[in-house]
Structure formats: structure tokens, C-alpha cells
Subunit: 386 residues, 2 copies
Amino acid sequence: MSDRDLLMIPGPIELEPSVLAAMGEKQRGHLDGTFMKRFSRVLKRLRDVFHAPTGQPFVLAGSGTLAMELAAANLVQPGDAALVVNTGYFSDRMGFCLTRHGATVTHVRAAPGAAPSLDEVRKALAGGKYKVLTVTHVDTSTGVLAPVQEYAALAREAGVLSVVDGVCSVGAEALDMDGWGVDVALTGSQKALGAPPGLAVLMAGPRAMAAWKARTQPVRSLYLDFGEWLPIHEAYEAEKPSYFATPPVNLLSALDVSLGLILEEGMAARVARHVRMANAVRAAFKALGLSTLPVSEGLAAHTLSALYYPAGVDAALVKAVAAQGVTIAGGLHPELKTKYFRVGHMGAVSANDVLAVVSAVERALVASKVQVQPGVGVAAAEKALA
Amino acid sequence: MSDRDLLMIPGPIELEPSVLAAMGEKQRGHLDGTFMKRFSRVLKRLRDVFHAPTGQPFVLAGSGTLAMELAAANLVQPGDAALVVNTGYFSDRMGFCLTRHGATVTHVRAAPGAAPSLDEVRKALAGGKYKVLTVTHVDTSTGVLAPVQEYAALAREAGVLSVVDGVCSVGAEALDMDGWGVDVALTGSQKALGAPPGLAVLMAGPRAMAAWKARTQPVRSLYLDFGEWLPIHEAYEAEKPSYFATPPVNLLSALDVSLGLILEEGMAARVARHVRMANAVRAAFKALGLSTLPVSEGLAAHTLSALYYPAGVDAALVKAVAAQGVTIAGGLHPELKTKYFRVGHMGAVSANDVLAVVSAVERALVASKVQVQPGVGVAAAEKALA
């Protein structure tokens, strides 16, 4: 394995060199003037990325799962009911987070690769007295892109808060918190925000903050309590010294660089680039005879592709592709784990990367004696990119 | 302010260049072979640093506060009682963590700069039916070094689990978990472990793991549950792929480099170096007429010094020192905040650093019209270092 191998898993991802350079900079203190400016800018820039002009951002040392639990911990308390619109592994996980914080959880489930219909969600909402509805925007386990805008509208109609787990979407898929009436959206740093892993990122809209303020029971965790972080985030945004727990200075500096690049590209252009890359990947894999786990094109994410192994091929394909210099990922959904693989294509992903991963899979299939005509995948990708 | 300014706060600290280089390396995936080797080595190396051959290490994306709460979340449940040996701000915080997870908390307090006597702790232990005793090894707010070995022995005698918050001590102060019978010790990456901020590090001894296994109620947080992390840490230690939440790859790689340097130096030599540096700092500040917040030399930490401002000087001194090219920290203990300052001297700290900070404070005092004879501080430091 070479350090020049290409990392094409659904996070961590290939990063812009300037993001990595920020990681390796001289260590700064958490009250360093340059750092305070950067943290302030991170918070402001996140509002643009999430389309949440009135949102309150939170950025903590932690993983995407911590961001998920941060939403649960602050929005629910024992006695509350939550509805999980379930599209896979990570929807189940949101359910676990909600349960730990005392909520009674109901799931509206769909088969792997599908998403509950709007009717099913509407019915489910009518069947209980829910405080929150959660939805996984892109389930990293299945590559399913859920119709968040529509679900959020149903939640709003029902007077229920909507929480969007955007771990594999924010910074790449279309998301308009303000326009769609989404109350909380969250992600981890290592996905489409284009930074290394280690940051939990959450945006809380005004209704979510009001629900947190109206709690009658304390948040079950100190580290997860909005109340501990709110004054600190407000102070950093104003570039004023403040302290609760030491912020992960280097990661925040790297995120600042990445958010700068994201907004320089522009969110609309960035979403369009992800669509273009995803279409090229999918055209190529279709030409290679592979089928996607999402059951329809409209349900396929633009940040990763989940593809069934062709007949006669198993998880050894992931290693065979690695031998071609490209790292992809195996399956994650418990029921289907050994039957599919995943390719990430988000963040700084370029046409070069798409061609490299398509060609590596193509070569690995040929090496695995699968009947494919060498070159058809790459040709289809080139055509889609042209 | 220049990027060559010296960072002498009690964390984050100046880092070895090789540690920073690991931060800025090409992004690796969380199942990358090189990364799995590193994570495995981190876990093994932590046992050596903590002197915990039978300990179970946990390393999570988070801050030192998350490590504190990790201890609380897994060891107590509603109905349990905890005794906090309180030496300052961070002992209070441990109390808050324990409360959130359902424990009834009793504090044995001391005046700022002091630590409860062994008799006071013995009496307190006798006065209740405690499950855990917690102690802050070095309180970053006061610079007080608590007699952890003696407190842990009292806890053991009483059949109570001991938790050492070693956020400002592990990797620099003497700590022998196994020999002293300490059940849990924890820290953050940005202190004496010599890495950037962003990692919560905890070592649980066999009795602590048994207490966690004997719980009758679930841990109140998913992210904080040993049960979620244990199989993942065991798998990584065996260099086998596993997944719960994406580990902070870059920070763990940096920590691996730092732990390698720590063990190359040797823990005994490292502790001795910290004592030597602390003695030089203190000799210098004594010569400059400054008095320490810890009320006796035996209570003064070797990782930082907390010093009262001389008469006629206030927090402006911190800025005056910064103007001399060295960053130090203001006070943190709520009662005394404006009356003292703090100098960190841990990790890669060298004689050069000690002389630089002493001289910077000396020059700042002269500039602040305090009656000091230029050079006496530096001369005292040189003498102590010789």
C-alpha cells in the first residue's frame, strides 16, 4: 500500500492540501487571537453551509455519533416520544440515542435501499404525540438519500420538531434548513465538510433552541448540554475569550480552511458537482453491470454509492480494488453486509478520482474473472463527465 | 504576535515537530492498515504510561471533560453515592459529571491552594456508603498536586473505587495505577501527553470494569458507554477492522508519535525532568518575589505553576508577557481568578522554554514598574537547572 493510494470510502475522505497544512501548523492555544478569529469564522460559515441564518451552531470534539446524541440529549427528556424515519443502520442508531435520553421511540421502517413513503410518515405522525421526528438524510450504510424536505414539511404540519442526521450529506447534498423548516441538522467533520475526523457539528434552529430552553429536566450529560456550550460558542463567535472544555484547536483550524473553500465554490455549485460526480460513478457501474442498493435513482445519494457485488464476487473485491491503489469500503447494513460495497465520492472529489475508482473496480472485476469488457466503465464515466 | 511565540499555558502546549507532522499527513481511513497498527500501539503504550498492565484503555474524540464524564457515566448510576476530594474548579466539575449520571455527591473541600488532609478524607469515607472517590491529581485551576497515592489507599481500605482525574498530570507526574491501586485514571491529549487537543483518554482497571459490568441500569449516554467502545478498542488493539464511530485518525496518529517519544524518554526520566523544570520555574519566581497559590511546596504541581500577581499588578501582566513573545494564562479558580496567573511547563518543555518564560515575566514586571532587579529570576532558574 502506498501513501499515494486514493481514499474513496464514505469518510474519512481525500482532503485539500491546505486543510491538512492547517492540521500540522504550530500548536496554538485555545485563546490565541488567530484561533479565536478562525473559530468565529467557522461558526458564521456553518450558517451559510446549512442555510440557517438564524441557527445556533455547535462544534465539539467528538464524532458524528456524538452530534446525533447531542440532538437527542437536548431535545428529548423522559416522557417524550420520538418518531424515527428509518432508512438503515444510522437511523437505528438515532433511535438508540433517543432511548438513552429517555424518549419512547417509534420507527417507520422501509426495506433496505428504500425510504418510508410520505403517506407512511404522515400516518405514523398522526398515530402518536411526538416531540421530534428524525431522519437520516443520507444513510452511510445504504447510500439512500431520504426526501428530507418532504418529511420536514410533514413534521412541521404536525407541530413536531425535525432533526436531520446529515452526517453523509451536509456540504454536498441540497439542504435548506431555513427554507425547509428543519429544526436541527448535524454532521461530522470527516464527510462532505472536507476536514479530518474528530468534530461533531450541529446546527439548531430557533424552535429547537426554544424546546431546549423549555426542558423541565436537566440534560443527562454535562458534555452534551447545550447550556454548557452556548455561552462559549457565543463568546468565540464574538472573538472573546471563554472556556468550558478545551476546543480541538487544530481540527477547528482545518475546518475553517475547508469551509472557506466550500463557500468559495458556492453551495449550489458544490451540490451540482456532487450530482455530476455521482452520475458519472453510477453510469460507469451500470455499464459494468452492477446494481445499486438504493431501489430507485431518486433515492440514491450523491455522496456515496452502495453497489451489490456481481454474481461470483464477494468482499474480496474490496481488497482486489485496494491492490489497484484505491481504497473503497465493504457493506455495513447488518442484513446485507457481505453482499455489497460502498464507494465514497464527496468533498474534494474530482473527475480524476471518479475515473480512478471506476477503473480500479473495473480492473479488479477483470482480475476476479467477472465477465466485463475492459474499458466500458471508464468510457461511461467519461461520457457522463463530458 | 508571531508564530514563533512560545506557548506556555497549561495546555495546549508546544509540541514536538514529529507530532505535528503526523497531524498534517495524508488523510488515512479509519481501517487503513498503518492506522490500525498505530491505534493498537497507542492502546498498548497507554498501559505503560499509566502503569496499568491490566488496564483497559479508551481513547475517544472529545476533551478532557469528556474523559471525566466517561468515568462518571460508566461507574455510577442513580442510587450511588460519590465522594469528591475537592481541590478546585475541576473537582467541582467532576461533581457535576457524577450528578448528571444520577449519583449523590458529597465534597470534602479545602481552601484554594490546599488539599483535604488524609484524616478529613478518612472521616468523610467513614461517613457514607460511597461507590467511588474522585480526586483531581493536578487541578489546572490552582496548580495543586493532590496526594493521590494516599487518597487511593484510603479508598481501597474502605472498599471504594478511586478515580483520578489526571488531566494535568498523566505523562508528567508520578502515577502508578497498578501499584497505588487506582481504579480509573484519565486525561486529555493536549496536556502532558504532548499531542493536540481533541482526545479523551481513560484507563480503567479491572475493578472499574467489573463495576461497569455489574451495573443494573444502562449508561445514560450512548457515546459514553464502555459497552459501545470495548469491542472496538479490543479489535483495534488486535489490528482487526471494527466500527462504532469514526475514530479521530489524525489525532490518534499524532498521539502515537508522542507516546513513542514519551516511552523512549522513559516515564521515570520524564517525571524527573518535569520536577527539574518545575523547580527551576519556582526558584526563579521566588527570586522575583512572587508567591505560589499552592500553600506548600509539597502541594505544587510539576506541570504548571499558579502564581499570585505582585502588589500593584493585575491581569494586564499576562498581556505584557505576551508582548515579550511568551503566552501564559490568567487565573481560572472562580474566587481568585483576577489575582493570579498560570504558567504551563509540561510535555516537551525544555530549559530554553523555562528561561524564556522566566525572562519574559521578569521583563514584563520591569515594564510594569514592579520593583525587581533585572536578571535575578533568570539567574535563579539557571542555578536550579545547572
